[in-house]
Symmetry: C2
Subunit: 359 residues, 2 copies
């Protein structure tokens, strides 16, 4: 073959030709096909769309060298099998919330939402600059998973209620959907927690099988139509003040990537993390407007006395979690020390400013 012919043939740029020519170009041309399994219904606003965005950013930044395909819950496997699937390599990536894995590693709950814990901004400060990320990696290491924060819902709402909450006694016998540590707190306050998929909440509220449910916030709750079947919409979401969403990355799949693609994957998670809290802040905003002005929803604050009791109970529940094992204790100590400091800084920065702005 003449040189000119070879150049022209190679010009079509097939992978095989590239691979023959130059090792450094091989890397640039090698394609990785990744599956991202998620704990959310496909395209679910905020959560599912963030998974889509993350996959898109990785695919586009890599010029298609990693093609990430997103699977909604149940498409490839059920929501609660995401962790195992990433751990055993069935999928290279997952998109979920860490509190779903408390059965595998109780301390995982520290990396999603802690009652009366950190807000979105504080949580990210702890993760990226307070030692949180290193602890999270340590926790998932035995499972062959690298975690990354990839989104945050911001402060959630306390939920939709068909009973007015005036004292802590009004929580006694309340049948409410509330998962995780918040649910445990509610049980200690005398409530009964029921766990069921989001899709069943509307009819359960309507039939009286549930007296109350929390979900996320105005943006997601408006879409579910809870305002049609519940009387009161309570705030603030003491149980989930800044829920972190996680990207799970199979460690072997990650290590098989060249350095530039590794950087792309992790940086995309960080950018997606910025994106989700922005989306929720803007859209909750608009949805709240619709709920109040169009649907005339009664938005009420939980009384201070109720919040105080819930706060005491939360401290007990979180302390018990810390006592589960050595790593849980280490994570608890780190996040608790961080919270103490950030609360003081927050009181003279965000909190003081928000108060000044509303004068």
């Amino acid at each position: 073959m003449k040189r000119r012919d070879f150049i022209q043939k190679a010009g079509v740029g097939s992978l095989a030709a590239g691979a023959l020519i130059a090792p450094n170009i091989v890397n640039a041309a090698t394609q990785f096909k990744w599956k991202m399994v998620t704990a959310w219904p496909k395209n679910f606003p905020g959560l599912g769309t963030n998974a889509n965005l993350l996959a898109k950013m990785i695919t586009e930044m890599s010029g298609g060298r990693i093609k990430v395909k997103v699977y909604g819950a149940k498409e490839l496997l059920p929501a609660f099998e995401v962790f195992d699937a990433v751990s055993n390599g069935t999928a290279e990536m997952g998109h979920s919330g860490a509190y779903y894995w408390k059965g595998k590693a109780p301390a995982a709950q520290f990396f999603s939402a802690i009652p009366f814990g950190l807000t979105a901004q504080e949580m990210n400060a702890w993760l990226y600059y307070g030692g949180g990320m290193e602890l999270w990696r340590e926790l998932y290491k035995p499972f062959g998973i690298i975690p990354a924060a990839t989104g945050n819902s911001g402060v959630q709402m306390a939920g939709w209620f068909n009973r007015e909450i005036k004292t802590i006694d009004d929580l006694k016998g309340l049948k409410m959907r509330m998962p995780g540590l918040g649910g445990e707190v509610l049980r200690r306050a005398g409530g009964t927690t029921v766990n069921m998929p989001g899709g069943e909440l509307f009819t359960s509220l309507q039939s009286g099988a549930l007296d109350a449910t929390e979900w996320v916030g105005p943006y997601n709750d408006l879409a579910f139509g809870f305002y049609k079947v519940a009387k009161y919409y309570y705030y603030p979401g003491w149980h989930e003040p800044g829920s972190t969403m996680e990207a799970l990355i199979n460690e072997k799949a990650f290590n098989a990537l060249p350095k530039d693609l590794q950087e792309i994957v992790l940086t995309a998670c960080k950018a997606a993390n910025m994106d989700m809290i922005s989306e929720y802040t803007a859209r909750n905003n608009q949805a709240l407007d619709t709920l109040i002005n169009k649907h005339k929803v009664k938005v009420l604050p939980l009384p201070d006395d109720v919040l105080k009791t819930l706060k005491q109970l939360s401290a007990e529940v979180v302390l018990e979690l810390a006592a589960r094992d050595a790593l849980s204790k280490k994570i608890y100590d780190s996040v608790t020390q961080f919270r103490t400091q950030v609360t003081r800084w927050g009181s003279i920065s965000e909190q003081a400013f928000l108060k000044a702005r509303s004068l």
Copy 2:
């Protein structure tokens, strides 16, 4: 040349060889050398280090196909020439704050900090999901610059004072360093504003040439040692509730990049944006602890009456800015409407939660 020889020679992977072989591999191998000029001293904590991080992320994610070199203020050109340098292509990128460009486009100030305006989280929500980014692009378009948010300091402090502030009259005759719209508000309250580089503030406070100065917050202020020469540290930073840092990108240089590198540049900005607010939240936190416990600094709140008056004056100043031209008005309307909605959502989410946590 025999085919084998050619392959071996091409195997060294020089750009020229790559360019001859395949157009799609040319793109992957083409190197771009970009200069990033900044408005900060080289490696300045938070601001300068964010510029370094941004450059590093772009360089690493692109596998070195874009090499971004960072220049501190005065290294290549003075801080206040960053905008022009990116506009005329002297540098491909810049890293600064938009309020420095009010002489070129008054409305630029809306994209950095507005007195009693948006917090970091709210600002990003407006930019990414409230139409802010599109308006910012429109504003810089005539200058051939593409802007991107690349960081946020969070709520700043009101500043260091050698005079106690009990009523609005205590601001009369006060000689204070306060740039931007905040400075204009202070002048209307009877103060005198002085603009000087950060490096001169310490001696000016010490000599009495200044009665007060604002800078950023505990993390940066501790490093400057202001606690040695000023009596009181006031909060909250009403004048800069969430100052956005900007990346400036020369439009032609951006358009010359292949699609994947364009995505890398913009996504890196978004990830850097998440990084800076996390850094400030964590480090302000630690620095405040040092200021209070080690240096026994008196941290005081501005009285509500003072804040109320400053808020009224701020509304006047911002309204006058909106009247400057049609685009300023359009941006003002967008951000004002967003602020109204987000304030209501914030009052039942972040604000209500922070209050509940401190009960």
